[in-house]
């Protein structure tokens, strides 16, 4: 008896499992059962699994009968004309959706030419083996596998138009590219997912060569004039929020310009650009740490006794400020309400990000790089026709990574730009290299894509011919302007008196354990001491009991509160160590500091 499970629950048994499964599938194909139902017969376990629940990943396949696909030329023609739809194919049992369980019973052919009588299904296209991001890559089968992987990863990081309604949205952080383009060399996926509405990069002319060593180690040399024409510009939007919270006891936040005298008041200049309602105006240029929304909040605790007696309100300034290190322009403001009915203000700041040295760019073949030099157009090399590349790509990036797909894309891009037609090169079924070469030749170019080029600075002809073509480049969401950071002096944390951590807090750069070891290994003891004295303090220690003494300002003398001793010695130590001594004391451990004259 074969056991039958419906969505994992046992519901009965059958003696003819194969017939049952066949019947169920036939009924599904004729539309009697839902097409979301999947059946699988596991022979080795002797059980049938019927699945109808949500969360199964399924993909469409063409049904094969007697070695022939059920889809015919007429179907495809009708589809093209719009007489039938995908739904009709599904209802009439020409295609069906397969889930992971039913897949165990299927024998799927990748291509029509491979079909035999045993096959049960046919893949719509071999390139369906790839996921969404990977299927954006043209000529992927010419790349080493890991490069396709990296490429797919970087497609996900690229800046483009992530949603067509981005002007109505208030994402915490988002990037939108200004002049996007559709790739000249594309795949079917670009058409299927409506890529025109959310593109993610631009076509650039890439010459493979060197430029004074500036494109070593994945550096990118980029044409300054191309940038000025708007190549790869983008806006970064960041949303700041302020809520007018209500507190217990009827108190609530006040949004407006804070009055002088309130705790945390930043001075008159801080608020002078705010209109009366305390919310900044659109199109106002703001800089780092500037106030966007003025606000005051009641404190959680009651104030001191005299504050209470005099009736001074215990409030504090809690204005929303622009992130440290950011600047931009106020783009739009949303006024709304939260679920609790409190006032909610969202201010969206826009900042133009023009490609600059340090920004990360990548092609679709896992070939990423950082802009290392921006060269004026007149200093860039040019071809006989006067074509000046946008990017100079270092040839050393090719042999070890073996991204032949990139080279083919350059070739295909060149053909595309010459013929004015997009080249479609999906996985396993691209326009062949020979065709590209022939077309290039017919346009009067060398069939290997190389061209004679001249040095823009001297006008001299290069001895070597240079491979030049068009390639789709993406700007990745790793922009220097969001990351650049340095500090000489700055804020320290309250507890340890050591420098703060992180760019947003203007933090220090840590000299870590291993770096410390290097200084020791070099015997640079005094350098080491200087590097680690960011929190050094003078601590008065009682010479008798070895505990921290105090300084009486009125009597102008130091004495020990524990033993009354007046022979107090100031010693230098790191504040963190003094803190540790205090913590030990809190744990009932008596850390006695024994001092010796040096």
């Amino acid at each position: 008896m074969t056991e039958i499970f419906l969505d994992g629950r046992y519901i009965g048994g059958t003696k003819e499992p194969e017939k049952l499964v066949k019947d169920l599938r036939d009924k599904r194909r004729t539309g009697l059962l839902s097409n979301q139902l999947n059946v699988a017969f596991h022979k080795h376990m002797d059980e049938i699994k019927i699945l109808t629940d949500s969360g199964r990943v399924r993909r469409p396949l063409i049904i094969i009968e007697n070695g022939k696909p059920k889809i015919t030329k007429e179907h495809i023609e009708k589809l093209h004309k719009g007489e039938i739809t995908w739904e009709d194919l599904l209802k009439t049992g020409i295609v069906e959706y397969m889930d992971a369980e039913e897949e165990e019973n299927a024998y799927v052919a990748l291509r029509e030419s491979e079909l035999t009588n045993e096959h049960t299904h046919l893949e719509l296209d071999p390139s369906t083996i790839l996921g969404l991001s990977a299927s954006f890559i043209p000529y992927p089968e010419f790349n080493r596998g890991d490069r396709v992987n990296y490429g797919a990863k970087m497609v996900g990081q690229s800046i483009g138009i992530f949603a067509t309604n981005y002007l109505l949205r208030a994402d915490t952080k988002s990037n939108v590219m200004v002049y996007t383009q559709k790739p000249l060399v594309q795949t079917h996926t670009h058409t299927i997912i409506n890529y025109d509405n959310h593109p993610n990069g631009a076509n650039v002319v890439v010459a493979i060569g060197c430029y004074e060593g500036y494109n070593m180690e994945d550096g990118i040399v980029i044409n300054a004039n191309s940038i000025q024409r708007g190549l790869l510009w983008s806006y970064m939007y960041r949303t700041y929020e302020a809520e007018q919270k209500r507190y217990m006891g009827g108190q609530e936040d006040v949004i407006g310009i804070p009055q002088a005298g309130i705790r945390g008041y930043g001075g008159e200049d801080t608020y002078k650009h705010l209109p009366e309602d305390g919310i900044i105006n659109p199109e106002h240029r703001v800089e780092s740490d500037e106030v966007l929304i003025g606000r005051i909040s009641p404190l959680r605790f009651l104030g001191t006794m005299d504050q209470f007696i005099t009736g001074v309100e215990n409030i504090r300034e809690t204005s929303v400020r622009l992130r440290h290190g950011d600047d931009g322009t106020v783009d739009r403001i949303f006024l709304s309400e939260t679920i609790d009915g409190t006032k909610l203000i969202k201010v969206v700041i826009r900042d133009l990000k023009i490609p600059e040295i340090g920004d990360k760019l990548a092609s679709r073949h896992g070939q990423k790089g950082v802009i290392a030099l921006i060269v004026p157009q007149e200093d860039m090399p040019f071809t006989e026709d006067g074509v000046i590349p946008d990017i100079i790509f270092n040839p050393h990036g090719i042999p070890s990574r073996m991204t032949m797909g990139q080279l083919l894309e350059l070739l295909a891009g060149k053909v595309s730009s010459l013929s004015g037609k997009y080249i479609v090169a999906p996985a396993f079924n691209p326009v062949p290299e020979k065709e590209l070469r022939d077309k290039l030749k017919s346009h009067g170019f060398m069939n290997d894509g190389k061209e004679t080029m001249y040095d823009g600075r001297t006008g001299k002809k290069f001895t070597a011919q240079i491979f030049i073509g068009n390639c789709f480049y993406q700007k990745l969401d790793h922009l220097v302007s969001n990351k650049i950071h340095a500090r000489s002096r700055g804020p320290v944390t309250l507890l340890t008196k050591q420098p703060t951590e992180g760019r947003s807090k203007e933090g220090g750069l840590r000299l870590g354990e291993m770096e410390k070891d290097c200084l020791i290994a070099h015997g640079a003891s005094l350098v080491l001491k200087e590097r680690f004295d960011s929190d050094k303090t003078l601590v008065s220690i009682c010479s008798e009991c070895g505990l921290v003494a105090i300084f009486d300002k009125i009597k102008n003398r130091k004495y020990c509160t524990v033993c009354g001793e007046t022979k107090i010695i100031d010693i230098e130590m790191s504040y963190a160590f003094k803190l540790m001594l205090d913590e030990l004391k809190a744990m009932m451990i008596y850390p006695k500091v024994v001092m010796k004259e040096v």
């Binding site: 070891d517 020791i520 015997g523 640079a524 080491l528 001491k529 004295d533 929190d535 040096v598």
Partner: protein, 372 residues
């Protein structure tokens, strides 16, 4: 000339270097003043390459070993499809050595034979002899005869039958024995239960018959003029008692075993040798002196210590340095109960409180004191 060298430089250069210079001088037929010049140059270079007082040799050794070891992480574990005996090597083995693990994952021995036995025949014979065999290794089939309360063993080799009976009899004296063809039957009276019979069967199968305990496999290999027996499993003490074996060269890779049998000096040499071998196998070139320092540190107290909480790092004199490393509370509480004093003589604790460390340029103080 040699006398001149010996007398003039014996205080300044090690004997071995002097001997080497002498050898070269003889070979190249150097004149006396030329030899003198050579020695001067050697002396200069010798002193240049010497560590200076205050150099942090420990840190340098640690860095010199661990930097290449980071590359090892990426290389190990990735030998797809290699058939054969599983051996711990690469980073796991290196960790095993420095952690001074009590039982190495793959104990192994390299056995050399004495000159007169150093041939293929002897080696093969020896390899066969030393492999540990218990009853189960010699038996093809075991069955329980419930009628007679007997355990019947089918033996591969008829010649071994007497040996098996002998050893089993030694352990279980009251068993009755019946021999027939290739079968031995052990009949028992006191056992009634199948379960207990089963237990008895396991016990009998586990009885040691021949060979040396723990030696699980032995392979003969030829290396230059030597016939070497490589074994899986290690038992240095027993192996060394065999006459044919060249005890001077025979080694195991078990550090603790070496320590017990041959002493701490041998253990030190083994630590150095194994660590160096492991790294060289991975193509990492680490200077032996760094590894020697590690070997010294691990053994200088007379027993093998691990590099870690319970060994070298746990043995630091400074309370703060120990507390900062691992088990903070344990060290602090213990120190406070015992009224311990931290002398602040080490590196770590001085970095902690922000003082100049007693190493490198910070090692030296003005000794002379002037009156004010």
């Amino acid at each position: 000339m040699s006398e001149v060298l010996q007398t003039n430089y014996s205080d300044e250069l090690p004997k071995r270097i002097l001997e080497e210079i002498e050898k070269v001088a003889k070979e190249k037929r150097l004149k006396k003043n030329e030899a003198e010049k050579l020695t001067e140059e050697v002396k200069r270079r010798y002193f240049v390459s010497k560590f200076e007082p205050g150099d942090a040799i420990g840190i340098i050794a640690a860095q010199s070993i661990s930097e290449p070891a980071t590359q090892m992480t990426m290389r190990t574990y990735h030998f797809a499809g290699t058939a054969g005996i599983k051996v711990t090597y690469g980073l796991p083995r290196l960790i095993e050595i420095f952690d001074a693990k009590k039982d190495p994952e793959t104990p192994m021995m390299t056995i050399y034979l004495k000159k007169q036995f150093n041939n293929a025949e002897q080696a093969k014979k020896m390899a066969e002899e030393i492999v540990e065999k218990d009853v189960s290794n010699l038996v093809s089939n075991v069955s329980l005869n419930l009628n007679e309360n007997a355990i019947e063993l089918n033996v591969f080799d008829k010649r071994r039958m007497s040996a098996i009976i002998k050893v089993v009899k030694e352990v279980f004296t009251d068993l009755k024995v019946r021999e027939k063809d290739h079968t031995i039957a052990f009949i028992t009276k006191d056992v009634q239960d199948i379960k207990e019979l089963q237990k008895l069967k396991e016990k009998i199968l586990g009885i040691h018959v021949s060979g040396i305990k723990d030696i699980m496999n032995a392979v003969v290999r030829r290396e230059a003029d030597d016939w070497i027996i490589n074994t899986i499993g290690s038992n240095l003490e027993k192996i060394l008692t065999i006459d044919e074996i060249d005890g001077g060269r025979t080694i195991t890779n078990d550090i603790h075993e070496t320590m017990q049998v041959l002493g701490v000096e041998a253990a030190r040499n083994l630590v150095i040798g194994e660590a160096l071998k492991t790294m060289q196998e991975q193509g990492l070139d680490v200077d032996i002196r760094h590894v020697m320092l590690v070997g010294d540190i691990m053994t200088f107290k007379g027993a093998v210590m691990s590099i870690g909480r319970y060994g070298v790092a746990g043995g630091k004199t400074s309370i703060l340095a120990r507390a900062a490393f691992e088990e903070t509370i344990k060290h602090l509480v213990r120190a406070s109960i015992r009224n311990e004093v931290d002398e602040f003589k080490g590196i770590f604790e001085n970095v902690m409180i922000g003082q100049v460390i007693p190493s490198g340029t910070g090692m030296f103080d003005l000794i002379a004191k002037f009156d004010e």
